[in-house]
């Protein structure tokens, strides 16, 4: 099983813990990832809203060089990259005018994109290509008794809902259950995390982040599992400000790949868990304590 890997800027920066956990987990499962050579910024959602055509060209260059790299699906862990690359692919297929502009631009760099390379998310690949049985067979330390709120964010499921339901996705729920976790019913699983509003209009953005955190706590979750670097950052980084506005609401937010790595026997540090602002309860990550999880206290200092 081989994929071309498009990390995007987040996984090299703020979201590096995502890459630190994704790569060993994939290797452990026998999935080969070849990082795309000379990849560039996906343009993110910001550029799309300024100039759709140019943003499309920027993203399409990645699709074109991925197609050149071989007949492999393009793996994009970051939700924003995943959405922008998929949107560009759709635009090229559905809108001849955009297609012409993009093709002209690509041609000037001696590149072409035929639409054959598929854009895939690791969650999709892990559950549908690798399979839950294969994953289960690698679990040495199940997340027994750990109550996890699965949080998908919006961009992976909407608007394209390529591999799961747009409003009630269940892929990660099933994956977490396979790892032995208690999956907390979390109807807010695709509700907005605040996105970039946490930085630009904090009153609006932080409120959205707060709702997710407090509801995860209220529903008895020990930890929130996410699949998006921006969601993880928003849910992890603003606890001080949220505490000041609405009172103390502490819960850790980690990548689903980090939880997978723990069950496979990797150390928290190997998986970048030391990078969290709100760390996961150390008891939850130690093999010895796994059996005594029932006594563990939720949240961290």
């Amino acid at each position: 099983m081989k994929y071309t890997y498009f990390p995007g800027c987040s996984l090299k920066g703020l979201g590096r813990a995502y890459e630190e956990s994704l790569l060993p987990v994939m290797r452990h499962l026998g999935v080969e990832l070849a990082e795309l050579d000379d990849w560039n910024c996906c343009g993110a959602t910001a550029y799309m809203s300024v100039d759709e055509a140019k943003a499309g060209v920027l993203a399409a260059r990645n699709l074109a060089i991925a197609e050149k790299a071989g007949p492999y699906d393009l793996l994009t862990p970051c939700s924003a990259c995943y959405l922008v690359l998929n949107k560009t692919k759709h635009n090229i297929t559905d809108f001849p005018e955009i297609r012409d502009t993009i093709h002209r631009a690509l041609r000037s760099a001696n590149l072409a994109y035929t639409g054959n390379t598929q854009v895939r998310h690791p969650l999709d690949v892990l559950v549908h290509d690798v399979g839950l049985d294969a994953i289960k067979s690698r679990v040495v330390r199940p997340l027994k008794g750990l109550k996890v709120a699965p949080y998908y964010g919006c961009q992976v499921v909407r608007p394209y809902s390529t591999f799961d339901d747009a409003w009630n996705p269940t892929t990660m729920d099933r994956l977490l259950a396979a790892l032995g976790a208690d999956v907390v019913p979390f109807p807010l699983k695709t509700k907005c995390c605040g996105g970039s509003l946490t930085g630009t209009v904090p009153e609006a953005g932080l409120r959205l982040t707060y709702i997710l955190l407090k509801e995860a706590v209220r529903r008895g979750a020990d930890v929130i599992a996410t699949i998006c670097p921006l969601c993880q950052f928003n849910l992890d980084a603003y606890h001080d400000q949220i505490d000041r506005r609405w009172g103390r609401t502490r819960i850790a937010t980690v990548y689903f790949t980090q939880l997978m790595g723990l069950t496979f026997g990797f150390s928290p540090k190997q998986l970048g868990l030391n990078r969290n602002f709100v760390p996961m309860n150390p008891l939850a990550t130690e093999p010895k304590a796994m059996a005594q999880r029932s006594q563990s206290v939720r949240g961290a200092p």
Binding site: W167, P185, P187, L188, K214, E215
Partner: protein, 666 residues
């Protein structure tokens, strides 16, 4: 071609119709008439504003007499609409009606093209083809086929019941076939009906009993139609009668057996109460069920499943001996002349819109669930309660759930606005709850319906205009704690609102039945793109289908309320009666026949005939075709290796001349 008939001196009259601007707006009709006038054999060629009008038909008759026409071609609309009109006109003028040929320059030309020159050229080509064809036409006679007077009604909801009673009262024998153990359909589950708020059971159950006691109606419940053969007037229908393990003739409905069942309490979801209560494996669907006969659920009954039950029900039934575990599924064949399909609808599955939380939050219910709660015969004896037994202090109705929605169903289900307002009024009547209705548009077009809306407003029911975004259980303010919160953009107030309520009612829309496609094939009907059964004409033939003798009524044709269903049922019954009382149908003489001299007796046509109309004459060693059974499908004509089977109205020379006519047009 050896079958040269009447190919000599023919005198053809050609007419092209303007159909107002329908044809003339795109096709240059005078130019087509001028073109046709020059074709060989054409002695009269005219264009006229409305050929189907009386003066138009008179024109044809006059020309037949004055110009001694021997053939007539009319270029106008689809033969489905007016072929018979013009054939009659020919006959009135003294010409055999089958010397007529129709050209469709409306549906096939003017309505589907925009370029006037090209559309006119196409009209000329089609006219050329018909004029070449018609010279080979022969004088034919229509055959009359007797109509079987019995009628099959499929579906025992309010539409099927009304159709069966109408026919039965007219003295016709009716078979009413219902899949469920009782007739009554959806209406039997309703508490009251809008806009009059009269009791649904009080107006329905007398009709149900009338069906049961009617001497002309044979009621078969737990039964399904599995095969339909034949044609208008002469259908042979096979009905599968599933065992109910209780003899309908012997059971008196005393229900002692239900009390005696080894299951002391109800354990399985009760279908009639949409799962809100439990029933035993032996049960009666609801108190007023017709027939008033117990049945046994083979999926749940220990005796049926394993054969190892104490059979306390048998003891309770004692010497009535109504319970019969030896019952088997039966196939019964009946003969009928007409069929009325009234198979109804199914409700939209609210789980398909996860944002509304049905199945996730216990106090999100569907409109039919609330209907059962409101009913005094329902699981709570008429108390509107939350799942924990409390009485709701506030109730929100969400309209258009699975209706008018591009992501699920595009159509308006027509009844949910009124149904929701009715339930809202009943909630106000039964509780002190505040009621808010979330709507996109209130559609209350029926008689007395706008007045009902007005009454709802006056009674203090709140209306918020906006499509609800989501239903959540998380609170942002103290008054939201423990409530369900409806998030909606109030499009009249112009801002997003959060409205906390105790109970949410989803007004789920109507959908075609899950097996609508199979039923469609069974009765040889069509479905529209949405899956509702297609009427022959949306305005002029609303209960007919494209198969003669098969009619549709009620919600299987599209969402409608009770009065509209009844109206359609009555109309379908009247259509069937019109055919029955005429006594016969005239068959199109487009039957196949055999040129005996050429038949080699190979028999390859015999198994191909879908109507078993071909037999083999052992004495002559030739195939013979029974014209009464032949439906003119043409399969044998195409298959005959020696070309000895021919078909009236589709003779080789007729078809070839027609093709050549199009190809050689210049």
């Amino acid at each position: 071609m050896k079958h040269e008939n009447s190919n000599g001196d023919v005198r053809i009259g050609f007419y092209i119709c303007h159909c107002g601007a329908n044809i003339a707006g795109t096709v240059d009709c005078p130019a087509v008439a001028a073109y046709a006038a020059k074709l060989p054999g054409v002695v009269v060629s005219r264009d006229y504003k409305y050929m189907c009008s009386d003066p138009g038909q008179e024109l044809i008759q006059q020309d037949i007499r004055e110009h001694r026409l021997s053939r007539v071609v009319v270029a106008s609309c689809s033969p489905l609409l007016h072929e018979q009109t013009f054939r009659n006109a020919c006959a009135a003028g003294g010409l055999n009606p089958f010397y007529f040929q129709m050209v469709n320059v409306r549906e096939h030309d003017s309505w589907v093209h925009t370029d006037r020159a090209e559309a006119t050229a196409k009209a000329k080509a089609l006219a050329h083809a018909a004029i070449r064809r018609v010279r080979f036409h022969r004088a034919l006679e229509t055959a009359k086929v007797r109509i079987h007077p019995d009628v099959l009604v499929v579906g025992g909801g309010i539409a099927g019941i009304h159709a069966a009673l109408t026919l039965g009262n007219a003295g016709k024998q009716v078979y009413l076939v219902e899949r469920e153990p009782s007739i009554g359909g959806h209406m039997a589950k309703f508490d009251k009906t809008f806009p009059t708020l009269d009791c649904a059971a009080c107006i329905l159950t007398p009709k149900m009993s009338a069906v049961r006691s009617h001497q002309n109606i044979t009621l078969w419940t737990c039964s399904e139609v599995v095969k339909v053969e034949g044609y208008v007037g002469n259908y042979t229908v096979t009905v599968k009668r599933k065992p109910r393990y209780v003899n309908e003739e012997l059971c008196v409905g005393c229900q002692e057996c239900i009390k005696a069942c080894v299951f002391k309490e109800g354990k399985f979801p009760d279908e009639f109460n949409v799962g809100l209560s439990k029933r035993k494996p032996i049960y009666i669907p609801f108190p007023q069920a017709v027939p008033q006969v117990v049945l046994i659920d083979p999926e749940r009954c220990i005796q049926v499943k394993t054969g190892r039950c104490k059979q306390t029900c048998l003891e309770a039934c004692a010497d009535r001996h109504a319970i019969d575990f030896t019952q088997k599924e039966q196939l019964v064949e009946i003969k009928v002349g007409n069929i009325i399909v009234a198979t109804g609808f199914k409700l939209f599955d609210a789980k398909r819109i996860p944002q509304y939380g049905y199945g996730l939050y216990p106090n999100v219910v569907t409109s039919i669930e609330l209907e059962r709660l409101v009913t005094s015969s329902g699981p709570t004896a008429g108390d509107i309660v939350l799942r924990d037994g409390r009485t709701p202090k506030s109730v929100g109705f969400i309209l258009c759930v699975g209706s008018r929605d591009l992501k699920t169903n595009r159509w308006c289900s027509r009844t949910c606005c009124m149904h929701s307002m009715k339930l809202a009024q009943l909630v106000r009547e039964h509780t002190d709850a505040d009621v808010t209705v979330f709507y996109m548009d209130i559609r209350a077009p029926g008689k007395g319906c706008e007045e009902f809306y007005d009454k709802s407003l006056k009674e203090g029911i709140q209306f918020v205009r906006g499509r609800v975004a989501e239903v959540t259980d998380w609170a942002l303010a103290p008054e939201e704690e423990g409530k369900l919160v409806i998030r909606v953009e109030d499009t009249l107030a112009g801002f997003v609102r959060r409205i906390p309520v105790d109970m949410i009612v989803l007004a789920v829309g109507m959908e075609p039945q899950a097996d609508a496609q199979e039923v469609r094939r069974l009765f040889n009907m069509s479905c529209g793109s949405e899956g509702w059964f297609l009427e022959k004409h949306p305005k002029l033939a609303p209960v007919s289908t494209f198969t003669d003798g098969v009619f549709i009524a009620g919600c299987c044709q599209g969402p409608k309320d009770i009065p509209d269903s009844i109206a359609q049922a009555g109309a379908a019954a009247a259509e069937a009666l019109a055919l029955i009382d005429k006594g016969y149908i005239e068959q199109e003489p487009n039957t196949a026949y055999i040129e005996e001299a050429d038949c080699s007796g190979c028999k390859s046509c015999i198994p191909l005939c879908p109507y078993t109309a071909i037999a083999f004459d052992e004495a002559k060693q030739k195939a013979t075709i029974n014209a009464a059974l032949c439906k003119g499908c043409g399969t044998c004509v195409a298959a005959c290796p020696s070309g000895s089977i021919r078909q009236n109205l589709f003779e080789d020379e007729e078809i070839f001349s027609e093709i050549e006519g199009v190809l050689s047009y210049a």
